[in-house]
């Protein structure tokens, strides 16, 4: 929904703030001048904030297009235009950006899908079934999410080392291993979002389907999941973004250059030699951010609803 529309039912026409002409309080000239001044002040604040918000992003886009850039670049933004940095980005085998990009997408997508599935299954049980230990389970999930996995990074490293001794394909330096670790955090705030949403799907629909002969799995996969598409999108996207941003565990588990994710690879690339690598890093940053920013704005209204679901009633 757009922010400009007020829920119509809340207003009688007399108090509608949009109804300028029907406004009941007559305004004197001095008062009008004061409101004009307030409005001007608001414009200034909003424009200033926008500039501060956008500037770093404009700067990095500009730096990525400036071929002879150092860290400072040139004093003006967008004074040069060249794709040289983007070409260099993909041509240096010591810093396999394309591999990092694909790794990140793969890990992010699989983790997001897995999180939606695992969280959805659990949320369905919590929402539709009554069993002993249900409340305890909900409380546990709520408590566990206060302790993010990165706190136990040492233990996770040692655990994965042990798993790798038995199954090298699942241990250190494997994407599957990293995804499994991320899925350990699947039951958490996500389950809560889905649980809340499933609760809003009327139970009568389940019952009707049951009368028609549908089993529980069919009800879950073909009815509940489909009716909950918005919340699945939110959970998937939040999990995707979180995975892309995850640095600690990925940096500890993935060591081979071509296995790394964008967060680890780009950080180490820029940490080695900040100034010299900056223009190429800028190009990498722009490309890395692009899918996330696009997804964010496409799904923006769902995200906002997801963020506020727990709080705004």
């Amino acid at each position: 929904m757009s922010v400009d529309t007020y829920p119509a039912t809340l207003h009688t026409p007399e108090v509608n703030p949009r109804g300028e002409k029907s406004g009941r309080v007559p305004k004197g000239p001095s008062q009008r001048r004061r409101t004009a001044r307030t409005l001007a002040a608001k414009y200034i604040v909003v424009i200033l904030t926008s500039v501060i918000a956008v500037f770093p992003i404009l700067y990095i886009v500009s730096a990525s297009l400036n071929p002879n850039g150092s860290l400072a670049g040139s004093s003006g933004l967008f004074t040069k235009f060249s794709l040289e940095n983007y070409i260099n980005l993909f041509s240096n085998p010591a810093q396999p950006f394309a591999a990092w990009f694909m790794n990140t997408l793969l890990i992010g997508l699989v983790t997001a899908a897995g999180t939606v599935l695992l969280g959805g299954l659990a949320a369905y049980a919590f929402s539709r079934m009554r069993f002993s230990g249900r409340r305890l389970g909900l409380i546990t999930i709520l408590l566990v999410q206060m302790f993010p996995q990165l706190l136990a990074v040492v233990a996770i490293f040692l655990l994965m080392k042990g798993i790798g001794d038995i199954f090298p394909a699942l241990g250190l330096n494997t994407h599957i291993g990293l995804i499994m670790v991320y899925l350990g955090g699947a039951l958490g705030v996500n389950t809560y979002l889905m649980y809340g949403f499933f609760n809003t799907v009327p139970v009568s629909i389940d019952e009707a389907a049951k009368l028609d002969g549908a089993g529980h799995s069919r009800i879950f996969f073909t009815i509940i999941l489909r009716l909950s598409a918005p919340v699945l999108a939110v959970v998937g996207l939040l999990s995707f973004i979180a995975t892309i941003n995850e640095f600690v565990i990925a940096s500890v588990l993935l060591t081979a250059p071509e296995k790394k994710t964008l967060a680890v690879g780009l950080y180490q690339f820029i940490a080695q030699e900040t100034s010299a690598n900056w223009p190429v890093f800028a190009a990498g940053a722009v490309l890395a951010a692009l899918p996330v920013v696009v997804l964010f704005f496409v799904l923006q209204k769902y995200i906002v609803s997801g963020l506020t679901a727990g709080s705004v009633k």
Binding site: V54, I57, V201
Partner: protein, 537 residues
């Protein structure tokens, strides 16, 4: 968008899509593909677990092997029998949760009570063996043993002919024993059941061969055979002799004695340690060190204080700015509101690690855009002065965090009934009074849980700190790898995986436990105050 609206919008969805799923559902009972997926998943799980248990049993790790088998049996039982439906839906997520979160947390607790880290990785036996191997030197004037390399099931062995002409076979950790070998002249060249490697085969395995040492007898002190080229082996003996009864190492050259003093390493009277040592349980020593050793306690206290300041300021500042912006952009008289909204939430859409790295570049004292362009070439140490670095962190944190608060506050403000505001205005309340007395209290009701969550998140906001300053500037008054902007979680990371200095998993885990306790206290207090738990039903 508020929940109620989300519900109503999904309500229209629902009526549209309602027909299809139900019509399909009528087709019949348990669908074949669900059964198929179930069978395949259980099969894969069983194969994996049985293999893992087998390997664990081979390593004599009986407890883990038993746990794996019992868990797998339980899971099979639950999925194969009818009923226990909730368990069927909860198990997939719970398995991952148990292994990679719960177990990891418990295991951190265990590691915190050990000296696990560089030089203290394995068992004592492994350490003894490594020390003997490390001190192996060729025995002067000892005879050469002609040999060939033989292979069985991927395992390499030496087939040697000793100076008496007897054929012996042995490998890494498998002492020499007589072999019934085929002779070629007076040299053993093959033995039944093994394949003899030709020259190319030896070349291919060169690296492994060079690292192999084959014990002469059961007693490792007797020495071992090593080969430089795969055709001749020489007797090496350990410079360090291990005396099992005294549980001590004797340096045969100097006569110095190294004893096990209970510190997880062999230590000489003058304090020199033999490395590697081994992993031992040290009880509360890591915690005792953290709280009593001045070189750790000082930095630790500073880090804990800064962690609280950082998280507290971030929540307060982002909340204030977010609400302020939301109030301003809620004014319908402003034009281009949609555009402004998109612009001010842009920092939130950008991946955090990239934003932090970009800011670290812009704030770079020598070459950064801010100094070079905005301050005309000044050398302001934004990230290298302890105070300024903290200031920079707080500002960037504000930049990163206010859009979230803005988004949430916008939603919350719109759900405040307009009548309340109008009624207050009629009663003569000015804009400030309306905000202070009506909007803010209502905002706090809905946003308090999010503020707590935000505090907990920023308490462990590793990415921002590490990407922006790496915790620096370095604190030079202590030999610990800690800086002015380190928060607890970055300290844990540096101690455990730091580039400088030995990795100390034990101490790092002890710090983790301290974070656990702090976070637990915070959550208990906050859950009490927000009554979240009581609302569960």
């Amino acid at each position: 968008m508020t929940t109620t609206e989300l519900q109503s919008s999904s309500g229209t969805d629902r009526s549209r899509k309602r027909q299809r799923p139900i019509a399909r559902a009528a087709a019949g009972a348990p669908s074949t593909w669900v059964v198929l997926i179930k069978i395949i998943s259980l099969g894969v799980l069983d194969a994996v677990v049985i293999y893992a248990a087998f390997i664990l049993a081979l390593n004599e790790d009986w407890v883990l092997a038993a746990v794996a088998l019992v868990a797998a049996t339980l899971i099979n039982w639950i999925y194969i029998r009818r009923g226990s439906l909730p368990a069927k839906y909860l198990i997939p997520g719970t398995v991952f949760l148990l292994i990679f979160q719960m177990y990891a947390i418990v295991y951190s607790g265990y590691v915190a009570f050990t000296n696990y880290g560089d030089g203290h990785i394995g068992s004592k036996e492994a350490a003894v063996e490594a020390l003997i191997n490390k001190s192996l030197t060729r025995v002067p004037d000892s005879p050469a043993y002609p040999m060939v390399v033989v292979e069985q099931f991927g395992q390499l062995s030496f087939l040697v002919t000793d100076p008496d002409g007897e054929a012996l076979i042995g490998g890494e950790d498998r002492p020499l024993q007589p072999a019934d070998a085929d002779l070629e002249g007076d040299r053993a060249v093959a033995v039944e059941g093994y394949t003899t490697l030709d020259f190319a085969g030896v070349l291919a395995e060169q690296e492994q061969l060079a690292a192999m040492s084959v014990p002469l007898t059961d007693d490792p002190n007797d020495g071992a055979l090593r080969t430089p080229d795969g055709s001749q082996a020489f007797v090496y003996s350990a410079k360090m002799q291990y005396d099992e009864t005294a549980d001590a190492f004797i340096d045969t050259a100097t006569g110095k004695i190294y004893e096990d003093t209970g510190d997880g390493a062999f230590v000489a009277a003058d304090g020199t340690q033999l490395m590697p040592g081994w992993k031992i349980d040290v009880g509360f020593e890591n915690f005792v060190r953290a709280f009593t050793e001045e070189s750790i306690r000082g930095p630790l206290i500073a880090v804990v204080l800064w962690t609280f300041v950082f998280a507290g300021f971030t929540v307060a500042a982002t909340f204030a700015v977010g609400v302020f912006l939301a109030l301003i952009l809620n004014d319908w008289r402003l034009r281009f509101r949609r555009t402004f909204r998109v612009l001010v939430i842009l920092p939130y859409a950008f991946p955090v690690f990239l934003s932090a790295l970009i800011w670290s570049g812009m704030l770079n004292p020598q070459f950064g855009f801010i100094n070079q362009v905005l301050f005309g070439g000044a050398q302001i140490p934004w990230l290298t002065d302890p105070i300024l670095a903290k200031f920079s962190i707080l500002m960037v944190s504000l930049w990163l965090g206010y859009p979230y608060m803005f988004l949430v506050a916008t939603g919350a403000l719109q759900s405040i009934p307009e009548e309340l505001v109008e009624a207050a205005k009629v009663d003569g309340a000015g804009p400030w009074a309306v905000f202070r007395r009506i909007k803010l209290p209502l905002l706090m009701v809905s946003m308090a849980p999010l503020l707590i969550a935000s505090f907990a998140f920023n308490f462990n906001n590793f990415n921002l700190i590490y990407m922006l300053t790496r915790g620096g500037p370095q604190d030079i008054t202590t030999d610990m790898n800690v800086g002015a902007t380190d928060i607890l979680i970055t300290l844990v990371y540096k101690v455990a995986f730091g580039e400088t200095g030995g990795r100390d998993f034990g101490l790092a885990s002890a710090f983790s436990i301290i974070i656990f306790v702090l976070v637990a206290v915070i959550s208990v207090i906050s859950f009490r105050r927000t009554k979240t738990l009581e609302e569960l039903n």
